[in-house]
Subunit: 336 residues, 2 copies
Amino acid sequence: MKKAITLNSVAVEAGVSRATASLVLRDSPLVSLETRDRVICAMDKLGYIYNRGAANLRGQKTGTIGLVLCDIGSPFYSQLMLGIDEVIVDANIVAILVNSAENPDRQLRQIRRLREHGVDGLILCPAAGSSDTLLSEIERLHLPFVQVLRHVSQRNGNYVGPDYIDGTSLAVTHLVRHGRRKIAFLGGKPVHSAARERLDGFRKTLKKHKLKHDLIIPTHLGNLSDLGSFPELLASSSPPDAVVCYNDMLAQSVMGYLLARGKIPGRDFAVIGADDLPQSAVSFPTLTTIVTDPMGVGRNAARLLLDRIDNPTTSSTRILVSGQLMIRQSCGGQLS
Amino acid sequence: MKKAITLNSVAVEAGVSRATASLVLRDSPLVSLETRDRVICAMDKLGYIYNRGAANLRGQKTGTIGLVLCDIGSPFYSQLMLGIDEVIVDANIVAILVNSAENPDRQLRQIRRLREHGVDGLILCPAAGSSDTLLSEIERLHLPFVQVLRHVSQRNGNYVGPDYIDGTSLAVTHLVRHGRRKIAFLGGKPVHSAARERLDGFRKTLKKHKLKHDLIIPTHLGNLSDLGSFPELLASSSPPDAVVCYNDMLAQSVMGYLLARGKIPGRDFAVIGADDLPQSAVSFPTLTTIVTDPMGVGRNAARLLLDRIDNPTTSSTRILVSGQLMIRQSCGGQLS
DNA sequence: CTGTTAGCGCTTTCAG
DNA sequence: CTGAAAGCGCTAACAG
């Protein structure tokens, strides 16, 4: 390993002091043009690389944020990251990605690790089963944070997520308007706020229409081929005529299941998903879905976090990205 | 901002010197049990947080690696990250994720930024159109790196990727064996090695079977609804009877297109994808696909990088994760 | 087994 | 406009 090129060597090469070189680094207007040029030349010549680690030691901010997701394997989170990336890249900030894998212990370990690395803040999608002490844990670390998609507490902490209640409600209303009367909800147990809110919207709206609202079918969301008791229900003497799914992936799986049995979604049975993933626009049938705009959530979350990093004392904010329904063939749209 | 808790305050609290406390931090056996306990107690009591940034200033390694992807929005990359995460998490290493968005300039900027943050190495999926100076650029930064999925140069630099040539070849052979004679390739221009290798495997194998091998349809992969000239070709007087697609997402889109026109993939037309994404096992029809094992690629890449970080001088390694064909309904499998 | 002493590479007063 | 000097929090010899 050859000797590293430090700001000092640059300064020597340019014939100035280290302090002056440092000023050039940060585009300070206090340096003469001539000197600046000389320093910049020296940097190029030596192949100088700025050492942020050293700078961080003095300054407060590291220019990194932590991203704690519970399932980095899911396409939905990819979209979220895209939105986050879009805003942090302009702020010259970089994201450290860790995976809690829905495991609260691992989640905490990873958060601590992030803290050791000195991240300026955290975007966090709390693992299912996170205890409500999670937030105070993070606060004890003096880390600004914003929860996305799920929240641990109804009141505390910043939160950005889709309006699941409203979205699910829109979906149910749409189904009812299209004459569906026996509507099931497929997917997930109420293990976190995002699932609970969906179920709330589902029940509430069915109740409003005086319809049966207990057709809730849990599945293991990590496994797309798990449709829970849906097959049995479908084969029963009074099968449902529509299903709202936890997300698009599951909805696509249901559509596959129906098609394989000769039922055409959108004609014989209505299916609605949630998320509006790109593939939902090109499948057969195309999928009617609750738009949750993960990129938008990501953008908002990142912006909120950056703001909180600069103004740590501001009180908690919650941003609900309002949902809308993308109507396609699987319910309501024209089947070609 | 209250005074930060440093190792020094811990040492004072525990009544030892900073050096001793530092030893405790790193589980050195040179500290008496009794002292160790006292120090650990002090840490807990004070809520001490290890400052890696400061440690990095002395040591060589930061315990971070950079992950430079060209499209963090794609589900395929999610799987890759899952594999990488699996191995680095055990090594107590954390990944900084950046997105080149297929833009070589942005890619270089991001790599420089990672370097400033002191990453120990790089896992890099080179953006389409990366010039061959990219590798020397990175080497000049003294960064160990491994390319994944695509490579800039045939010979230089570590590389881990699926065996696209072989995989595509398997697909074509399978189609021929099932009586398909007019086989098209859908998706992508040969803008990077991963695309070129697919096309090579495609042409080579068709040639071997003495079949027409020029039915190559470029599409814009970022847009799933872009099927290029496929619709026209299908409507022409001598349409193809099978298509190998660049990836599963595109294959699903094609299947949607076919179904919407009353053609059943696997019966009237054969479709093969690539990647074996989870949804390909539950769609209708289920998708025959070239398994590229993104998680496996990720695992191998991460392992290779960690090895190269420890042994920087070792010569370049290339790992081809061999492909296989997952046979399902869209070609060869039983349509229920 | 524990303490002393130098730095790592940078920023930041404070004087020129 | 430029330089000198004092750290940021930690590790790594080297002495005790």
